[in-house]
């Protein structure tokens, strides 16, 4: 567009009229060549590592496949079997519980800390960086190993509770609590959404706050009537991203349960079960069906978010 305007300045308008169609065609052709030339690596990758595998995965999900022998067509069998697979249903239960608890908790922590930081505090840079660090390291095996130790029977958490005379549980070993250690681990990584909230808070118009102060609005009123509505696009953005991420959580569940999803499948997150089916017992057709269901569920969540956004996300133009 503005590239064309650069050319137009060079050409006298009279000539332009006669020669334009030909030149424009050649120009367009040249642009396509350059555009697709620069795009080529991504396009090849898109087909090789995303589109073709997705089609292949859809096909595999309709077969019995163990990698070593050719896939055997079984139609919708895998999908039907999913819903009578007790462990699968358990993994859905665990995953949904994990998503609907960890995401709000993480975003609430992120928002609270961001608002607390957004008051022109000294040492803001130090706080920001330190709060951000866990979300950068949180996906590592090492942090999961650490988590397993601090929530073990005689770990740090129970020693702390012991100071108040409380006898803590065996958090990792007890099926009632094991999943909650994963939720806490997720909330511990609130740094990324916090940074995004902070960036949003900095851009809020100050005059509204001054007006509210003149009207004598209290801190809570200001937060719920001004800050939160103005920040709703950021809340939406973080909600979508964190939900997608939460559905994909694997490492902590794997490490904390020794790769089994225990105790009694209480930490059997969806991706962990998919891994166990696909790479543990080599039921790759079945695992592909699981992947497609997950894809559909994430799509559904995202669609609901976008649909509901009209009601609660405030786009001030």
């Amino acid at each position: 567009m503005s590239e064309n305007s650069g050319v137009a300045v060079l050409d006298p308008p009279v000539q332009e009229e006669a020669a334009a169609p030909v030149r424009r065609k050649r120009k367009r052709h040249k642009h396509n060549l350059a555009g697709y030339g620069f795009l080529a690596p991504w396009l090849i990758g898109l087909f090789a590592f995303t589109l073709i595998p997705m089609v292949y995965s859809l096909y595999l999900s309709l077969t019995k496949f163990n990698l070593l022998t050719a896939p055997q067509w079984t139609g919708l069998d895998n999908y039907v079997r999913l819903f009578s697979d007790e462990r699968y249903l358990q993994s859905i239960k665990v995953t949904l519980l994990y998503v609907v608890t960890s995401v709000p908790l993480k975003l609430a922590a992120a928002l609270l800390v961001a608002v607390a930081l957004n008051r022109g505090l000294k040492a803001l840079g130090f706080y920001r960086a330190t709060f951000y660090l866990p979300s950068l390291l949180g996906a590592s095996v090492a942090v999961s190993v650490m988590w397993r130790q601090i929530f073990s029977r005689d770990g740090l958490v129970n020693q702390f509770l012991g100071l108040f005379g409380v006898q803590g549980a065996d958090w990792i070993g007890d099926p009632r609590y094991a999943m909650w250690t994963l939720v806490v681990l997720s909330a511990w990584q609130f740094g990324t959404p916090m940074l995004i909230f902070l960036a949003g808070l900095k851009q809020l118009p100050q005059d509204l706050y001054e007006a509210a102060a003149i009207d004598g609005a209290g801190r809570f009123t200001v937060f719920f009537k001004i800050t939160l509505p103005l920040l709703s696009p950021m809340v939406f953005f973080n909600l979508v991203l964190e939900t997608i991420n939460a559905f994909q959580t694997f490492t902590p569940a794997y490490v904390i349960s020794n790769g089994l999803g225990g105790p009694i499948d209480s930490t059997l997150l969806y991706t962990l079960y998919l891994y166990l089916k696909g790479f543990g017992s080599m039921q790759m057709g079945y695992a592909s069906a699981m992947a497609w269901v997950l894809f559909a569920v994430i799509g559904l969540f995202t669609a609901v978010y976008f649909w509901s956004a009209r009601r609660w996300v405030n786009y001030a133009d």
Binding site: F38, G155, A199
Partner: protein
């Protein structure tokens, strides 16, 4: 008014510091515990070792039968190659999306955004089957090659946003001087894109270094194991015994990423804050 404001700042600092200490304490404890003799690790909350030992590191380093030197150098190899591949391929694609005008650009841009939402599990199994056919299992190729082809659309998007902020007059001036797209890309866009390239470099390094599932799936020989896999092998072997070595090796695998973070934290935090990130 002035003093009231100062008071509330003190309160804010106090609350924030408590939260911060609670968050960081486990990591401080981890580092301290890794220098404690085995029998003192769980006996106290105090992170400072009463008796300082580096025995956990010495024993842990080779406890899985393969040295952590191997694991770490494998991890560094994979991470550094991924960084270079990712920065190069994503910046090229981003230039096309942000600056070039070609047929179906909007369509492909939409597809690119769509792939950002795609859960990686959707392609995990078929990719594995394909790489298996290619005989790439137990090599680094499945981990690295996708990034040569701009696999992680998130970084393309990050760079597109950044390039859009670079004034077009600069490209146009170069074009008037007879520069083609290749020269505009290398001599105008790339130098100005540096902050985004840096954010990409740091995040790609840390995410690749800490990645677990893909490495777990693709690498099966201890000689090919990366640091997370080595640590995981240690956990499998150790469960119940040798906590000291396990904690020490956890610290070891965290060192590279924490070091990168410390060196780059100011720029990184700015970059994340302004671009909005996973």
């Amino acid at each position: 008014m002035q003093t009231k404001k100062k008071n509330s700042h003190w309160r804010a600092h106090a609350v924030l510091l408590v939260v911060l200490v609670a968050m960081i304490y486990p990591m401080v404890w981890l580092v301290g515990a890794s220098f404690k003799p085995e029998n003192q690790i769980f006996s106290t909350m105090n992170p400072l070792p009463l008796a300082f030992t580096i025995g956990n590191y010495v024993n842990g380093w080779t406890a899985t039968g393969t040295s952590f030197t191997v694991y770490l150098s494998n991890s560094l190899t994979v991470s550094l190659v991924t960084v270079v591949a990712n920065v190069a391929s994503c910046s090229v694609a981003a230039y096309a999306f942000a600056r070039l005008d070609f047929a179906f650009r909007k369509f492909w841009f939409g597809v690119m955004l769509g792939t950002m939402m795609l859960p990686f599990q959707a392609t995990l199994i078929p990719q594995y089957a394909i790489f298996y056919q290619l005989n790439w299992i137990n090599t680094f190729l499945p981990l690295v090659v996708p990034y040569l082809l701009a696999y992680d659309a998130f970084f393309i998007f990050l760079m597109v946003q950044f390039i859009r902020g670079i004034p077009r007059e600069l490209d146009e001036a170069a074009e008037l001087d007879g520069a083609g797209h290749v020269r505009v890309f290398f001599s105008v866009i790339l130098p100005l894109l540096k902050p985004a390239l840096l954010t990409t470099t740091i995040l790609t390094f840390i995410w690749t270094f800490n990645d677990f599932l893909r490495q777990l799936v693709y690498l099966s020989d201890h000689s090919r194991y990366t640091a997370p896999l080595g640590l995981n092998a240690f956990v499998d072997r150790a469960s119940g015994s040798s906590y000291g070595g396990m904690l020490a090796m956890s610290v070891v695998t965290l060192v590279p990423t924490v070091a990168v973070f410390l060196i780059s934290q100011r720029r990184l935090v700015e970059g994340v804050a302004t671009t909005g990130i996973k």
